[in-house]
Symmetry: C2
Subunit: 370 residues, 2 copies
Amino acid sequence: MNQNMEVDNERMEKSLRKLGEWKEVVNELLEKEFKTYTKRAKEIHPEASRMVEYLRNFSMRGGKRIRPGLVIAGYKAVGGNNHGRITKAAVSLEAFQTYVLIHDDVEDEDDERRGGPTMHKMYEEVYEKEDMIGGKEKYGRNIAITAGSLAGSYSVDTLSKTDFDAETKIKAVRKLEQIHRYTAAGQTLDHTINHRKTEEVTEEDVLKIHELKTAQYTIAGPLELGAILGKGTKEQIKVLREFGIKAGKAFQTYDDMLGLYGTKEKLGKPVDSDLKEGKKTLLILKALENGNEEQKEKIKKALGNKNITQKQVEEVRKIVKETGSYEYSKKRVSKMIEESKEALKDSNKINPEIKEFLLGIADYIITREV
Amino acid sequence: MNQNMEVDNERMEKSLRKLGEWKEVVNELLEKEFKTYTKRAKEIHPEASRMVEYLRNFSMRGGKRIRPGLVIAGYKAVGGNNHGRITKAAVSLEAFQTYVLIHDDVEDEDDERRGGPTMHKMYEEVYEKEDMIGGKEKYGRNIAITAGSLAGSYSVDTLSKTDFDAETKIKAVRKLEQIHRYTAAGQTLDHTINHRKTEEVTEEDVLKIHELKTAQYTIAGPLELGAILGKGTKEQIKVLREFGIKAGKAFQTYDDMLGLYGTKEKLGKPVDSDLKEGKKTLLILKALENGNEEQKEKIKKALGNKNITQKQVEEVRKIVKETGSYEYSKKRVSKMIEESKEALKDSNKINPEIKEFLLGIADYIITREV
């Protein structure tokens, strides 16, 4: 999508290298945390150790560590300079992400994540291997709900045991819980619109989900959390939030485009999973708004269809382009990314190095391969 | 069951009155918290407000507030004297309990709780009333998972915004998350043994669940959390933990007895729900160990049977008594309660008034009506 936008490729590559460096450190720290939790779990029961082992497998098998990266960026943006301390805190957001993904997979009944089985599928394997009784799906689902919650607990624990002063940590914990509430509201709204008839769902609903689940949770929240840990001023936090909300909305809109036009290899999940799940994306809503009767009918037949064929996926892809819906989303994404950059550019309150980093991240958001 | 034990009725009544007084204050504070959360949710989306309203309904419709009561007791046990401050913190454990119950009901597919519909059932009603699509059970379950998690978020938030100093609050948050981990381990083990063939399950497994889910979560954890907020010494906390673990194990063993021999009115849920769910209680394990072939066969047919009849429930009740299993559990409960009292009696480290309160609570645990 970068061909229509002014993208500074060099700056973007630099941001990605930085994100990659931070990812390495976050991964090392994650491994260390899992060692601690394994040790504790072993003292409790073998089933507790197995759960930590599975969480480790799920967490370490993939993921770009964008959220922890943005916690680090938020901290440095306001002048924080204790790299070791902030990376330990950043781990918290990755544990939170693990929690969200596991529950999300249970709720959407997805089989694959990050190129491997989802948590409930991992436990369905246990059920089979150990010749259990009472229903494979039920066992997988119930244990995965608990595993997700356990990862959620790690997110609070890892944050509250860092070396920041207690006042600052309490503020950060409260921010984390605010992110938690936004995410829950987004999830609730997401499920609700997916269970409403398509004609009852508005563009406003969809954008609210983008704001809550992605803008707040993925971009603005992590940046603000980092800024709180760096004792940033209200003005600094406001700039980061503005950037985050706009970039985050763009991120999700673009993610939905990837979800329809991406490949299984890039996504780490089947390309038909959004359609199967009946996800009412902006792409789908606009195509239904602008399509003719035949096109509408085809989309409605594909949406939420568990037995969708590859041909139907191709048809929906075609219709979304033919109705101008693809172009509409693309323009929205470009506009929001421009606005996110504006929010940063005018500010002299943010560490210039991090400003450059975030501008590169904004470009990355709309340059991910479809 | 009190006829065989030395129970000081006057002391017990006094403890229950105290617990009742604290319950009133905790309920007032819970209402206040729900008002705050409603106000915030309204700014987000009507679906967010509905969720807070439903959480309020679920939370306020019943419950003895034992856990918040024990937080208050733990605080006062070590000399804490700011009643207003500790009651606000105690609310945290009630929010946590709401979280645990909602997920528990989803996992066990229970319809009723505290004399009303479970959270997923409440949302199934929404689904029907608002003529939604995509599967009633799925919608109810998915939204309830999120609602439970939201209540979990409240538990951290209410604790971290109290007026205790930040150092103490961070310690308390970490304790809360330790309770969270114990509860998750207990839940995992509970589901796992319920999905294992009965002959693979040991008494040790069952007692471990009692330790994790009830002793740690219901009694010892809340007492310790309160003691941490009251800046108790290690010795004081150790005494409270010892009392809590023993009384908690007795509590759960007795609870399983109530689950089989209680009435729907007292339990707030159908009397056959433990059997339907296939819950492998100490009562069931011992009856299977000591029963003859016919008795064993009858229990196995009842356990996990979704279509269990009232006659089958009566038969299981009879067999559990005939095999001496009921008496075995009863003796274990009495012994553990005696030991819990011993742990307190020898200590001169605990506020005498609270010592009396806890001794009364220990008696209450085994005097609840069957």
